[in-house]
Symmetry: D2
Subunit: 345 residues, 4 copies
């Protein structure tokens, strides 16, 4: 019999993608979906794509007591809301996967990047950073999971082999990223309008984007010492997809592109969702899937390492990764129910 799950915040794009993936999961059944702003609406009305799988599912207002006894709850909420909800929720359900930013950082780093103290710091140790490829051992049936954001996932996967092995310097790292517009969510704002976002490239969040903290935290954990990163996100005119183009300085001599590619292949050997390509990755090849595509180059001329990570910001960058972590929480094979192939073209 399938585990019973809820998607809290199911009207947003991440919530909808969770519903899509879980519809094909053999061992998890969604019994509840909540969304305060669209409470009462049928899921199939907001997302006709989901009509076949959820013909009768209606969005409920969020009521923690209504989740009592569920095996699994996914939280796909705006920043800050999981902190308020978690203290009441954790005891009611068996497992929680939070897709928001609330439980990803230590309290001090949280306050640094979000400009306000954490509301539930006592719960932070209960959450594992839900990036299985780098922190698989920390995700156990006893933990909750804080699934990382789309930018940190791409950047950390692209840079981890360099920093884990001491191949790159931990300072002077540059992460330059391009994201599809769905990364901004379904909220109404001028930069999310088609006529504003189409046919343009728009840098934003210069110097201070909050995902910087997550990228630095994850890489510092991998490196075993502090890593500093200059992170610059850009919006590009596509719905889904995220590419992190990363620059680092070598910490060792004798690097070549081939040695780096070999290092990456070894580092990610056996991973079901990470593929190291010879050619530069493109986001399109990961569309709709939980795949991450990487490559790496060494530029002898300028003495620089160049690493790329491509993924679907709603897949491996959000809902796919959350389901991957949930599989670990439930003791299921990690790849269960997850689409591994992108939609190309």
């Amino acid at each position: 019999m399938a585990y019973q799950a809820a998607v809290v915040g199911a009207s947003g794009y991440t919530g909808a993608e969770l519903l899509r993936i879980l519809a094909g999961h053999p061992d998890i059944a969604v019994t509840t979906a909540t969304a305060d702003t669209h409470a009462g609406a049928p899921v199939a009305g907001l997302y006709p794509s989901l009509a076949r799988a959820y013909p009768a599912l209606t969005l409920d207002p969020l009521e923690p007591a209504a989740l009592d006894g569920l095996d699994l709850v996914f939280l796909a909420l705006p920043h800050g809301e999981s902190q308020r909800l978690a203290p009441d929720l954790l005891g009611r359900v068996a497992h929680v996967v939070d897709l928001g930013a609330d439980f990803r950082l230590p309290a001090a780093a949280y306050e640094q990047w979000y400009g306000e103290p954490h509301r539930a710091p006592q719960l932070l140790p209960a959450f594992a950073f839900g990036l299985p490829e780098l922190f698989r051992a920390r995700i156990t049936p006893e933990t909750s999971v804080a699934a990382p954001g789309c930018y940190p996932t791409a950047a950390a996967l692209a840079l981890a082999p360099l920093l884990a092995g001491g191949v790159a310097e931990p300072s002077g790292v540059v992460v330059h990223a391009a994201s599809g517009v769905s990364g901004r969510g379904r909220g109404l704002s001028a930069p999310s309008l088609f006529s504003e976002a189409n046919e343009t490239v728009a840098p934003y969040g210069l110097l201070t984007h909050r995902h910087t903290g997550e990228i630095e935290w994850a890489l510092s954990e991998v490196h075993g010492a502090p890593v500093t990163v200059l992170f610059t996100p850009h919006l590009v005119p596509m719905t889904r997809g995220l590419l992190a183009s990363c620059y680092a300085r070598p910490a060792t001599a004798g690097l070549t592109t081939q040695r780096l590619v070999d290092l990456y292949r070894e580092f990610y050997a056996g991973e079901p969702f990470v593929t190291v390509l010879d050619e530069p990755p493109t986001t399109k090849a990961t569309l709709g899937s939980n795949a991450a595509h990487l490559t790496v180059r060494f530029d002898d001329r300028t003495g620089s390492i160049l690493a790329f990570g491509a993924l679907d910001n709603l897949g491996k960058g959000a809902a796919g990764q959350a389901v991957q972590a949930a599989n670990l929480l439930l003791g299921l094979p990690e790849a269960t129910g997850l689409p591994a192939l992108g939609l190309q073209p």
Copy 2:
């Protein structure tokens, strides 16, 4: 010395396009721009594209007295607002071009399609329908102008030669149209979001879209008797551009494609902005210009006439056409200051 003009409603896309076109107009100078929702903001902040032309222009709140004595006022306001403003405004300024829907239809037709009585029916006779190619003689320095919408402009230009000449039946006309998303304006709504409008074709306003009334009115005037039209608009994933694909039944025998193309060339001979092509028109060739591209076909096999009209919904479909009409109001050469060439590619 240049005529002094105001753009009322300058924060929207039509207002911004008016500012762009007027920046290149040798005889009209914009001295005032208003926008209630962005009052106080510099135009160059909302539209960095306009920074060079309007480095110091700030959006004012709308105050009719502040427009006193202007030579020309363009109204680019949401539906219903021109009706409230016009009675106070008309005596204060020399010429008014309204780009909204308020003064395009007779009172009865207005009520039929907009579901409420007109607030200023006494002013309707003062407004000429601002489609110069079909109603040039009505646009005189003594009139105000109600510039037609983007869909009616494309459909009326594409079908007028058929109905003016009695070549097509006045019933059974079908107008199937595809519009870029900027046609929805800059207002915040879910269907205008990039992630909703991208990579999809979305029919909307089935059977009841309000532009039906304008299309029927314009063609009925041209035909000299009532014309009925089934109009079905679709959103397509592009910022600008509008294609009307029109179907009509022949009212005469002996039609051929060549005769129809010749008829169109004769009908629009001398027009500076209408080009009749041999090949099917595409919207891209009109991007950013005041051009309308047409072609026509006769299908002997099914006994149908097929007529196409392509334009830029913000150009010939809105701001360009308004400036074209303003040139007539001011007694200037009709093409003054108007871009005639599209941006291709």
Copy 3:
């Protein structure tokens, strides 16, 4: 044990989509992929999205003898090539699904629309028109299948309930369609370039598009008497997706939108891939899936019926439908291995 299959013409978009779908099919395994123009290339090089599923699959040159004994062969070839191949192939393999145009029409209709005589008319009776929703009974383990094109699938599904029931007149039918650019395939041509196809709507194939013959044939079969259709395709700037907007005249009195929607729901009751919506369908909701979304309206004002069909041109419009038909050939449950949910957003 899985059935062994080949994809002939695997370098094109339809071939790649077949490989993607079949990678998730529990009962069919692709053992061979051919592509003359890219023979020798690894599938994963052309389509990195497929690297995980086909790490070692290389494109072979087409050699019929190499297909001997296969359970199933999909032909995804340019027009005309299946005719040359089929006589040699049919005896070598258990089942053939042709995704090209060669075996969809009777010989006379083929010659009318393709302008040349059919090369293998003796084989035409062996092929069933592979649109299961309308011709399921004809698709048996003894037949081969000619899977219909994307436009005919959308148009026939959208109009069949009207013509099967005598609700609409068989003349005066208009099919106005918009397709994503992948419908043109992967061949190199100027209209397929991004800079030509982006930000524009482009009608093409006016009056003479070859899919007209297929649409008319399928609807005539459903109607039991000849149906004539004026078909006008348009390219719109998206990769995948196809919308058919169809106009027909009522053949009976007393129609209402509700009665038509009810008729459609009844007509397609139990179909796993056809959903009749209340709201207008959009192509996006079907992206990457085998779904077709329909709705219908009756316009009392103009006496017209308006019917819409949306699908993914590479999914239900090509590869998905071919796999659906293959399931019937193999005696498998019809929905086996087919994605039913679109990728939204």
Copy 4:
């Protein structure tokens, strides 16, 4: 009377944009347009957008003698062809502006980046690097002009104030750029197909893109000593537009964002086409114009300078810049005939 000009290579996107801009130039008239691959075709057939301006202009095969006595010739040819043509051409016409790569680099640098010796090194001194904002004094009526490429223009404008003033280190410079697909030209190739380029971000030319040489050359000239750059271009799904996001290390203490912005404003004071913004620039605001939008940031946390340059790759990145340089060659006011405002939205 207007100067008489030819556009050699008029069938490509740069050629078409030259024709569009020159149609609005009061002092230059295009009398000849050549294009070997489309010789005999009317310009208006390839680009219906140009039909109004060039109703009778037909593409000629290239015949140097036919250009005798012209005041101005623009060369918009594939790499390598200007070298073959120039020796014969220079004496026949008064002024030449080459938009290709052939005369931009010294002979040694040319050979380094293009992998073959230059065919006409003796002509290199006759060509000035046509980036007026940085090299205006070199562009005189006696010189020919080699207009720089789109990437070097954006990168050099974004970085020049840092290197001219010794504010940034000349090593460790990173130029990360995103370009619209029209930058690849109108040639037929798989990566230029809509279905390949849409909905994806694709890095390419890693480590070895030829524009690296131009960027380094221009910045070295500005700096007065060698500058090395790691340049990484990316294709993004838009037709036009180019953003260079540049990273550099400070060479002086005490930097702040405000000081850098002030430095940029001073450096480009009086420039008609360069605007230094407070907010991050977007490519859209420059669409169809000769504008370049810049901004700059200092990140105290990581000790990095971040500089951005946005432009239209066919405008300031190609045809616009060429016309700007031509104005200098002809002794006309530099901004004559050039569109200064982008098309937004």
